[in-house]
Amino acid sequence: MGIVSLTINGRPVEVEAGTTVLEAARTAGINIPTICAHKDLNPYGSCRMCIVEIEGVRGYPTSCTTPVAPGMRVTTESERLATLRNRTLELMFSGHPNSCLVCLHREACEQYRPQAVKAARSTRCGFCANRDECDLRAMALRAGSKELDLPTLYGSYTLERNDPFMDRDYNLCVLCGRCWRICEKIHGQPAISIINRGKWARIGTAFSQSHLYSGCTFCGACIDICPTGTLTDRFARWHGKPDREIASTCLLCSEGCSIISQSKQGQLLANVMIGFDRTDSLCALGRFAYAQIVNTGLRLIRPMEREGEDLIPTDWEAALETAAARLLTAKKKTATVISETITREERFLYKELTRCLGGELFVLQSSENEDNAVAAALAAAVQKGDIQALIVNGALLPAAVVEQIPFVLAIDCLPSEISRLATVVLPAAILSETEGSFRTSSGVIKNIAAASVAPGYARPEWSILCDLGRAMKFDGFSFQTAAEVGDLISDDPAPEIFAGNPRHNVRELPLRFRGHDLVDIVPALDAFSPLHSVKAAQIEETADGGFPILEKKEIVPNMHFYKIHAPQVAGFAQPGQFVILMARETSERSPFTLVDWNKEEGWISLVIEEVGRSSRELASLQTGGRIAHVSGPLGMPLTIERKGTVLLGGGCYGIGAIYPLARALHQAGNRVICAIEASSSYLLYQQAELQEVCDELLVATKDGSAGVRGGVQEILSWVAGQEPIHQFIAIGCTFMMRMVTELSRTLKIPTLVALNPIMVDGTGMCGACRVSIDKTTRFACIDGPIFDGHGVDWDELASRRSAYARQEVEALSQQVDLNELVLRPAGESCGCGGH
């Protein structure tokens, strides 16, 4: 290979032959925008963002696929190229929700909502889990374009949630092909590929089957390489960008794969591959289950000591003292049974401790359950009374054996039959919470770095063992760090090679951790267990109770329309009132504004936006199903008077919510103008119905794809310039209501808003919904929800609405909808493009 000289933007550049123009430019520090190109993927040339001009070459070749040639004269920036690239970007955006990027109020909105709103489908950046890491968005913001000439063509693909760990929203996909190319690179035969043709082209599996049956190994590479929010990790998804990344080693089996642990505020979010090579790949456990194991709410968090029948929480000192005393009594009649899923240092210390006691150490492989060879051998010894004490670090032995041993010290992370039988239980920090090193089955020593904080009073085993050793006055346990222990280990053997190949076959995953069944900790793993049992959620569901859903449809993405049989509400509802729904017996009580009702037929209708766990549970219900609870009507109705001209502003769910107000005000003889806003034309709904009950319907979209460009405030200021407005009423998100009330204040228009604070009972009992109106505390559920917009303390409302932000993310990320995990043997079509 020789060196090739060329000039890029007039600068001489020397690179090796075979280099692409793109790489050459980057070596020279010249930036060329790309989407489909990735340093670990072969050139593909699909996005056409990286086009350049090359003297003597016709057209605009893609720099990522063009090899350098001697004497080449390349131009990467020109007016023509800029126009073409912008056009390319626009084309890409016409198939990718973009309204936030061109919204006139983007900065204010992002300041108001620092985190993305947890919606189902991402219909705009504000609803996208990947908002802060999106290549496309970054590029658009750099380009600074606030105008788009092309209409948005929303794909309307169903959100794919039918596999254990990933959410797929192909409405965001720009077909860069990174995902299937990395899949092919790592696995040889890709599980996903481009299916269909032309404008129907998309990424999918063969025969559109669930990924469970597509040969996918759930290595997560596609998620990590996706430049948009199309492919996401369901657990980590709404936690936002990690604040720390650290290289470490997976401890779940003896293979010891290298990982990068991503964490945020001390919480592990995910492990990702160290690179995008075949050898870097991870199994589903290492990639996805790790964080869920560490974060499970089941963890043991405080030391406990037995007193009679009970394990009594105690402090470390007391627990260690008891353990030391009892072990010293048993001395060489001590058996230590440990799982290999710990660091070398910890293993060494277990060995040392057992040696000092004169006992015997048994090490079990990660996939072994309590019925193992060691258990059988121990059972005999226990019978003979040869074992008086047991140190065990997992659910590694049958209860029948353990309960015969007089003293049991369980050093573990999760409760089990063993820890329930134990005399002393010490909570251990595990996996990403500990540090040290690991010898893989191939003999390599790898580093383990602490990436997250252990829960409660849990401590790493190496430090527990050091304290225990010191408490027994043994020499050689005074280490301050795991590294000091590591320095002493010389000839530790490599663990046995793990029998299965979980990186290539999900059916061979070690579904055990320290003997605990991982399906109990990470329910989604049930999809991989041999029988695929779909452990039914232990909830007593309303069989024939509840409220029948007469009609349910997703009218626009994320926006669901319901017609529900609820005569006790329908018979008494008035405009401005709301109901509280619970989709299931386990759901939250969530308030939703009434849209319409029919006393004679006994039904009510609602429009519900899918933005969190509760609304997602509602969204998963269908026509013919039942909603567990509908309580209402609640709240004070709007006083319907003849005011003159009334402007009603509605956004998001508010488009539906203003309908009954418009109808009543219109009937009362007012001139009613309805102003509705949406991000884009494809998110507008209910226009025909509103048209019927108002004198004028005005539309605004953030991207200008229908009606005025902007929002209700743009319409308000326009109408105010045309005619006097006697009353303005706004219903929508708090940001919208806040913006419009600020404007209506300067326009001196009396303004009412329907507030949406967090509620629990909705009958005045709990006070969760308190809001400050003119510096007085009011309960939105019984005094409202309609209040004078100019008196509202918006900052307080916004902060109170975010009170449970963290729990809400947790509720979504730990929720597994087992119904969506069911077998889907046949897909929709073969993928050849025929329909």
Partner: protein
């Protein structure tokens, strides 16, 4: 102390003499060091032997003071005798003659000021543990699946609407259904039980027990309509027009009182109702299996000295928090049951007595950081007869906190009175009812429980319900309630 076996034998030989020597049997309790981290019930209940032993202490007075001390007039000596004889299910049936909720009352009644305060044994030594025995009988029958067949009078053809399914409502519904009336209970929340479901924590009153009692009510033929908000759907006059012959309002004291001090709308300030409702009714303690967001206090300050304050402070503890109670008077003035205060102390709740919060401090994100308090000293007795707390000048100090639970009381829920102007209310918003018949200013409309008395106890609500049920039966039939 004698074991039950010893005594059993002695009892066979010389019954009366040894009986008095038997000490009051202690209630086995979960160790406070353990229970402060779990939601399991604190007292574990008597064993059969202990119950019989304790029951044998009762001297079967001819004129039992305990019955007079019971707001629902349970025939206490009779049911205790049945326990002493080992006839546990019969004991329950005896209880059921007078109370719809023995398992509940046995747990949450303040027996020390009611039945047990009147016990003759208490004059010289310790009274019979009536509450514990009541609980035992109810638990025994429930655990062993002895579902007593409902005994009902013949149908009267009268229809009664009961608004609210808390202790008062359940009592009225149960009695009237037994006496042959058709009863419909309206409940605004999604589960029946009122304060027994949303307010009293699991560790004091397991929710399974409440639901068991509700099911018993349904077996009696009572129709319970949950998710039904009377006042927002039908009003009380509308119910009467729809063919109900009488209405009983038992909507309780469900409007939390706040302190009215600066910072009260910061994130982390809760009414005790919200805090407890999330944990109990919505089962946020089982999050994420149950979807309601749990409150995760690290340093919780509960303001108030009543039973609700104790419940909240102990719940906070179990959610993994340090837990402090701030109360403006001294321990002697605390309205909470002594046993509750004792349990709270045992579990590690810290008490700041003679301390009054003056403002709640919060950070830039509107989240609570602490409570600024003032030391108090006791002055002259006030209207309630308790010595009035007076602030000590310049004694301000800050209790660090991320969670503040306001448990200083509840006002009557306004939903029903607001929409039924025919019903006269007091200036505190309570419904004014005749103290004997519990009838309101609207004929045929009765009321009882906290909506009449203001925030009080479960048993006083049941007592009023009992009174109202009798009066309603008389109103509906012109006759005294039948003896069943």
């Amino acid at each position: 102390m004698k074991t039950s076996n010893d005594v059993q034998q002695e009892k066979n030989t010389s019954p009366k003499k040894t009986r008095v020597k038997i000490p009051r049997q202690p209630m086995p309790e979960q160790d406070p060091r353990r229970r402060r981290y779990n939601f399991e019930e604190v007292p574990r209940g008597y064993s059969e032997e202990t119950a019989m032993l304790e029951a044998s202490r009762c001297i079967q007075c001819k004129k039992p003071g305990c019955v007079a001390g019971c707001p629902v007039n349970i025939n206490i000596p009779a049911f205790i005798k049945l326990i002493a004889e080992g006839r546990f299910v019969d004991a329950l049936l005896k209880l059921k003659e007078q109370t719809a909720l023995p398992a509940v009352c046995g747990r949450v009644c303040p027996q020390e000021t009611q039945c047990e305060a009147q016990c003759i044994l208490g004059k010289k030594g310790e009274p019979v543990a009536i509450g514990r025995l009541e609980r035992f009988a109810a638990d025994y029958a429930r655990r062993h699946g002895h579902v007593p067949d409902p005994v009902k009078a013949t149908a009267t053809g009268r229809r009664v609407a009961v608004i609210g399914s808390g202790p008062a409502g359940i009592t009225v519904a149960g009695e009237l259904a037994r006496w042959g009336h058709e009863v419909v209970v309206y409940e605004a929340l999604h589960l029946a039980g009122g304060v027994l479901m949303y307010g009293i924590p699991q560790f004091r009153l397991p929710k399974e027990i409440v639901q068991y009692e509700i099911k018993a009510l349904q077996r009696l033929g009572v129709k319970i309509l949950t998710d039904y908000v009377i006042g927002k759907s039908e009003t009380v006059p509308q119910l009467l027009r729809q063919g109900f012959d009488a209405v009983f309002i038992a909507t309780g004291a469900g409007l939390p009182v706040f302190l009215g001090i600066p910072g009260e709308n910061a994130i982390g300030v809760f009414s005790a109702n919200e805090f407890l409702t999330r944990a109990n009714l919505m089962r946020a303690i089982d999050f994420p299996h149950f979807a309601t967001s749990p409150i995760r206090p690290r340093r919780a300050v509960t303001v108030g000295g009543g039973n609700v304050a104790m419940d909240a402070a102990r719940t906070a503890l179990r959610l993994g928090s340090e837990s402090t109670i701030v109360y403006r008077r001294s321990k002697a003035e605390m309205p909470a049951r002594a046993e509750e205060v004792h349990h709270a102390e045992e579990e590690g709740v810290v008490f700041h007595l003679l301390t009054n919060p003056v403002q709640i401090l919060f950070d830039a994100r509107n989240r609570v950081t602490g409570v600024e308090c003032l030391r108090m000293e006791l002055g002259e007795p006030d209207a309630s007869g308790r010595r009035r707390p007076m602030p000590v000048k310049g004694s301000e100090f800050v209790v660090p906190a991320d969670t503040v639970i306001v448990a200083i009381g509840n006002q009557p829920n306004p939903l029903v009175p607001q929409t039924s102007p025919e019903i006269t209310t007091s200036r505190w918003g309570t419904i004014i009812a005749d103290s004997e018949t519990m009838m309101t200013s609207m004929p045929g409309v009765f009321a009882g429980g906290d909506i009449v008395s203001g925030a009080a106890t479960v048993i006083s609500a049941m007592g009023q319900g009992k009174k109202a049920a009798c009066a309603m039966h008389r109103y509906l039939t012109g006759q005294e309630p039948p003896q069943l």
